[in-house]
Amino acid sequence: MSQEQALLRRIQQRGQHPKDAKDALAELYDLYARRVYSHVAMMLGENTAAQEVTQDTFMKVWQRPEQYHYDTGNFGSWLLTIAHRTAIDRVRHDRHYRDAQTDSMDEDDFPEIPDPGQAHDTAWREWLVVLARLPNEQRDVIVLTYYHGLSQSEIAAQLRLPLGTVKTRVRLAMEKLREWLRDIGQS
């Protein structure tokens, strides 16, 4: 049994052993909170919303620790998936209440990919290089979906593209990322 599975099992016993379950959640927080918050802050900025979404992520683990057995992949991937989806829900919720300035997106709405040369972290620089290799239209949909929480339908509406075009770009972009990831792993 992994350390995470042991901690989840203690959390599942929160009805019978509430203090021990709470201690187990605190240990999980110490292991993963920084990574979760860092990703959420990439999407929402370093603000109250990012803190709330990070807490919401761990609250979901507290409320349904048994869900980890359902999902595939390791615990870190599972937790980051929960964090990502929670952040997307928040992005979409907050966007719903923002005043629309225009009906269409302009150049300022397209997030810029940082210059890989300015990234100090090796792993992050490698990923920025990978993202920069994607065709512009594919890179944009990845960033718009993954970091800005837009659905495929929303991207299609904003960019005035057929939905099928957006779906194809998403699928092709992910295929390339997976392929390059395998190459990085092998090198």
């Binding site: 605190a26 860092s38 370093e46 807490q55 057995h69 595939t72 993954y146 929480g149 699928r171 990322l177």
Partner: protein, 252 residues
């Protein structure tokens, strides 16, 4: 949304991993994922790629108060209740009402209880105890709504009633003649939105010897948001969407 084919779900897997699907699309893909180990394996590859991207992101310092705030949301361990006539009544209510395993409340609260001529005594209650109080109060609340539930193929002779206040988020389910389930199964109560997506309102597998079941229902949204309620049989721990036979439903 109509059922999605395997190929359609496969086309949308990348978007699902990115979080780029609507709620309906997500539910339809999840239904296919539950049925296909191949799809789950392919999804795992997508998630692995995204996890590596995420893991490579620069780390940031954590806000200093976030951990304490999180642990405070979980709440403190409830203090042992002081003995009083009202405490005895609460104990009988809590013993007789099933505690749902799926709890949504997030912070500890303090409830003030009137003890008639003795005035007010403040008793620290857990979230589940407060939900149970609210649920039982629905039985005597003339403004509470009640929706009848009819037996479905798994339990054709079962009947049920779900009570709630439209602006409330705690309800009470009373059912009769639900079959006793094996230990690896649960009844899962679904709260259904107009677009046919669902929240889980309760998980339970206990029934009383006389065939009755009473369950506190905790919703994610006010009950006025939901248009139907249904119960299906699912694996222990519940599922993201209904996969098993229906037992009770408010649909005609």
């Amino acid at each position: 949304m109509s059922a999605m084919s395997y190929e359609e779900a496969r086309e949308l897997l990348a978007a699902y991993a990115l979080g780029a699907l609507s709620r309906n699309e997500r539910a339809a893909v999840e239904a296919q994922l539950q049925a296909s180990a191949e799809l789950r394996a392919e999804l795992a590859e997508h998630l692995q790629a995204l996890a590596q991207l995420t893991m490579a992101e620069p780390e940031r310092e954590l806000p200093s108060t976030m951990k304490a705030d999180l642990l405070a949301r979980i709440g403190t361990i409830p203090a042992p209740p002081k003995r009083s006539p009202l405490a005895g009544l609460l104990e009988r209510l809590m013993r007789d009402v099933a505690i749902p395993r799926f709890a949504l409340v997030t912070a500890g609260l303090v409830g003030a209880l009137a003890l008639g001529g003795l005035g007010y005594r403040v008793v620290q209650l857990s979230n589940q105890q407060i939900a149970q109080q609210e649920a039982m109060a629905l039985l005597a609340d003339a403004s509470a709504q009640a929706r009848a539930m009819r037996g479905r193929p798994f339990a054709p002779n079962a009947t049920g009633t779900i009570r709630f206040k439209p602006d409330g988020m705690v309800g009470l389910l009373e059912a009769r003649n639900l079959p006793v389930l094996e230990r690896d199964k649960v009844y899962q109560l679904w709260l259904v939105y107009p677009d046919n997506t669902r929240d889980t309102g309760a998980l339970f597998n206990s029934t009383n010897p006389d065939g009755t079941t009473t369950v506190v229902v905790v919703a994610q949204k006010p009950f006025s948001t939901y248009v139907h309620f249904g119960i299906s049989v699912e694996p222990a721990g519940g599922m993201p969407g209904p996969t098993g036979p229906g037992a009770l439903s408010t649909r005609g």
